[in-house]
Symmetry: C2
Subunit: 220 residues, 2 copies
DNA sequence: TGACCACCTATCCAAAAGGCTAGGTAGTTA
DNA sequence: TAACTACCTAGCCTTTTGGATAGGTGGTCA
């Protein structure tokens, strides 16, 4: 189906992935009103996205990375898609902006990143066509975020290990190091160790800031 | 075609308030497909909601309380609507669930509370008709949240004062009490005082938990 | 006027957290 | 094999907290 650039006849074929019905219907309505685009499938889970892309071979995948409990799974998904289906461009349509997520997504081959709350109706169609043409589309505010993100971490956004996340989550619940140590069967020293590593990665210096940043980054 | 106390002819007239185009279009599509409902106006700001309700006198207002930077403004809006336009029922369609917001909304006359991510396409129409009929509609998870909310605070959700919020925000940035004191020109003791009061109100015992709860409640 | 509120301050002490250095294991990869 | 990673532990000392108690002001409202 996909041929060269785009024949003036062929509609842009899109798969929409979002856990939220309202959003899916909204995207479909907006795009189909604008008759250069056809939504060929919808998906609500990470697995369903792969199946849908595999089955329909769309030109563009519009996706909210936050399809499950684990946002990092969304990033992994992007990696899989770009690798296995290089002809399908990815346009992320995020609920919230997080520096870390944006940077990680772009690193995994995502070529468009818009924020739901900022996007205007006509921008959605434009964005789809632009990413289909191989352009990179970054919504309002996303661009500067990327610049900061890449600058501050010198091209290497460090990610938290499982243990670190586990400790941070416990800290967010107000537990002391001693309590956390007890909870997950490690020593208090280790808890402090994980928190210190996490604080370096998140560039935070107090546990309150650690949990705040982790929350803002959508990691909790 | 439902016919309770409503005439079988008359469509339910709805105003949709959400800052997000995609959501507005989605809600409109879903509801109008289901031909008992007509969306008569859309609004994207708190002021516009009042104007729209005043002008169209809808049966139901579907609203995402989070129309601006300040969620509490959304709560104030509910109060105004129920007072000035008692014939317009309010159905909140929230992005995220927060115990405090749900409880406060219900206390201000909201009769429906659904969560965007949980709602199924047919539930939206059902919800609208139910609140129009004067029923209270609480989405999955919302009910239990209310029970906990009302139980834990004995019917009185305490709210944070301006100063308390200010201190919490600073704490979230990783500042120590001393730094915060310096920043807002009060003594370190006062900072501790505010944090202690806040921790009682939020039922948290550590500053990490305070900022986490405040964040989760959409207060930051 | 008294009650109440948001706000401000102080002192005391024990507990917790922060920052450091200096080790260890198991598993993976170049 | 060496290098790297995630993970785990220890001790030391300082700073920051949490929690309690006990005062104060100015404003609002019945």
């Amino acid at each position: 189906m996909p041929l060269g650039r785009r024949s003036p006849m062929a509609k842009t074929r899109v798969v929409v992935a979002d856990r939220n019905v309202i959003t899916r219907v909204g995207i479909r309505s907006i795009l189909e009103r604008n008759s250069g685009v056809a939504v060929v499938a919808e998906a609500t889970s990470y697995d369903a996205v792969i199946d849908a892309v595999d089955e329909h071979g769309p030109d563009v995948l519009i996706i909210d990375l936050d399809l499950g409990d684990d946002t990092t799974a969304g990033l992994k998904l992007c990696e899989i898609i770009t690798e296995r289906f290089p002809d399908t461009k990815i346009l992320v349509l995020a609920q919230t902006l997080s520096e870390m997520i944006v940077v990680e997504a772009l690193r995994r081959g995502v070529t468009g990143y818009l924020c739901k709350d900022d996007v205007k109706a006509d921008e959605l169609g434009k964005g789809v066509r632009a990413v289909q043409d191989g352009d990179t589309v970054l919504g309002r505010g996303v661009g500067s975020l990327v610049a900061r993100g890449l600058g501050s971490t010198r091209g290497q956004t460090e990610h938290l290990t499982d243990r670190e996340l586990e400790v941070i989550k416990a800290a967010a619940k107000g537990m002391s190091n001693k309590q956390i140590a007890h909870e997950i069967f490690i020593s208090e020293s280790t808890v402090k160790f994980h928190l210190q590593n996490a604080s370096k990665k998140l560039n935070a210096h107090r546990r309150a800031e650690i949990v705040h940043r982790a929350t803002a980054a959508g990691l909790l």
